[in-house]
Subunit: 213 residues, 2 copies
DNA sequence: ATCCCTTTGTGAACCGACGCACAAAGTCAG
DNA sequence: CTGACTTTGTGCGTCGGTTCACAAAGGGAT
C-alpha cells in the first residue's frame, strides 16, 4: 500500500515523543486518514494490534519498515546534477529512511569531478559501470526533459527496475520497470486550477444563480 | 481534473513539433493515459474535437490553459530557502507555465539578504506584508518539518488558500484551504516496497508454490 | 450526391476503494 | 471471576472513476 510510508512517518513522530502505544483513531488522525482505512491497511500485514489497547508503536514501526523493505539499505543514483539534483543529493530525508545516495552522474563536463554532498560527480558515460559496481537498484532522474528518455533506456538496460522521474516527460519503459513521477509544475497547476475556480465562484457564482433562474 | 496539466504538457510538445491536429488515441499515448478517459475529460470542458479528424492542437492548448487559469500569471512565494527552496527558485518549469516566483523568505539571518535567482531573500517576519504587497496567492513550503505548521498557520491567516507543502508533516488547515503535498522520501519508499516484492517473488515465489501444495 | 472510413462523445457495465457500523476480543476494576 | 468498557478486525453497502463498445457525426473520394 502507498500509505504505509505515511503511517511510518506518523509513528516515528510518536516514538520520538515517547509514546509507546497508539489507537487506530489517534494514529489515523496523525497520518490524516480515516481510522477504518488505517485498520484495514494494517490488518493486511498481519494482526499486530491488541483489541482494547491499540498498537505498540515500536513494534509497528519495525513491521512496517520490514514490509517496505527499509531494513536493508538501498543504493540510489541521481542522474542530472542541476539545481534539483543538488538539492536531492543534500536532502537529509533520504538517508534517515534507509536510502543511501551512492552515485551522482551528469553529462556536463563542467560539473563532472565536482564534489557534492561528499560525493564525486561521475560522467554519464560511466552509468552502467557505476550502477553495477555500486549495487544501485533505484535511479533518480533529474535531467532535462530532452535527455530523460535516453538516460532512462540506458538505466533500464543496466538492469534497474525502479525509477523516480523528475523530468516533465512520460517515460516509456518495459512493464517490469516501475516509474514514479514527480512533476513540480503540475502540482502548482492543480493549485492554480482550484484557486481560479474559487475566484470564479465568488464573482461568477451569484451571477450564475441569476442565469439559472 | 488533475490530468489536464498532463495533457497540456503533451500538447505543447506536439505543438513544438509543428503538429496541428491530433487524435485522442495519439494524444492519450503521449500523455500516458487511456483514450476514452482522455475524451471524457476533454468533453467536460466542451466539445472541442471534430469527429473523423481529432483535436486542433493550438486551440486545445488555449482551452486547457484557460481552464487551468494559466492565462493569468500567479505570484508564488517560497518559504524556506534551503537546498530545496533554492532549487525551486531556480527551476525553469514554473516560469514557463505562468508562475512567477515573487518572493523568497527564510528565518535564518544568515541567508536573509542573499540574492537567489535574482530575488532578495526576505526575513520571515515580513511574511504577511510581502504576501499582501506582492499579491501572492500560492505559497510553497520548503521549511524543516518542525517549522511547517507554524508558518502554514501564518500563511493561512494572511489569506492564502493554496499551499504546496514539501515538509514531511500533515498540515492541519481550514477546509477552505487546499494543500498539496510532495514528499520525496515517500516516493522512494514506495519504489523500495515494490523492488523488495520483486526480489521476494524471485526467491520466495517458487518456494511458496511448493508450500501451497 | 452518396457511401465509406475515421474519430468523437457517451451510455452502461465493471471494478476497486472507502467508510460505516458491528461483532469479536481483549483489558481492567472491583 | 465477572461485568463493563475499549478498541481491533471486517462484512457490506455505496460511490466515484475507469474502460468497453457503439451510435452519432464529420470528411473525403468516387
Amino acid at each position: 500500500m502507498a500509505r504505509l510510508p505515511l503511517y511510518l512517518r506518523a509513528l516515528t513522530g510518536l516514538a520520538e515523543r515517547g509514546i509507546a502505544t497508539v489507537s487506530s483513531e489517534d494514529l489515523a488522525a496523525a497520518a490524516g486518514v480515516n481510522s477504518a482505512k488505517l485498520r484495514k491497511d494494517l490488518s493486511h500485514l498481519g494482526s499486530y494490534g491488541t483489541r482494547g489497547v491499540g498498537y505498540e508503536v515500536e513494534y509497528l514501526v519495525y513491521q512496517i519498515s520490514r514490509e517496505l523493505g527499509l531494513t536493508q539499505d538501498w543504493a540510489v543514483a541521481i542522474v542530472g546534477v542541476g539545481n534539483l539534483g543538488r538539492a536531492l543529493a543534500n536532502y537529509g530525508g533520504f538517508v534517515s529512511r534507509g536510502f543511501r545516495v551512492a552515485a551522482l552522474l551528469d553529462a556536463d563536463p563542467e560539473v563532472v569531478g565536482d564534489t557534492i554532498a561528499g560525493l564525486n560527480v561521475v560522467h554519464i558515460d560511466e552509468l552502467e559501470t557505476v550502477i553495477k559496481r555500486r549495487g544501485v537498484s533505484i535511479v533518480v532522474l533529474a535531467t532535462p526533459a530532452q535527455a530523460a528518455q535516453a538516460v532512462c533506456d540506458r538505466v533500464v538496460n543496466a538492469g534497474v527496475t525502479s525509477i523516480l522521474n523528475f523530468a516533465p516527460v512520460v517515460l516509456s519503459v518495459p512493464e517490469s520497470v516501475e516509474v514514479r513521477k514527480v512533476d513540480l509544475s503540475i502540482e502548482l497547476q492543480i493549485l492554480a486550477f482550484h484557486e481560479q475556480r474559487k475566484a470564479d465562484r465568488e464573482s461568477g457564482g451569484p451571477l450564475m444563480a441569476v442565469e439559472n433562474q
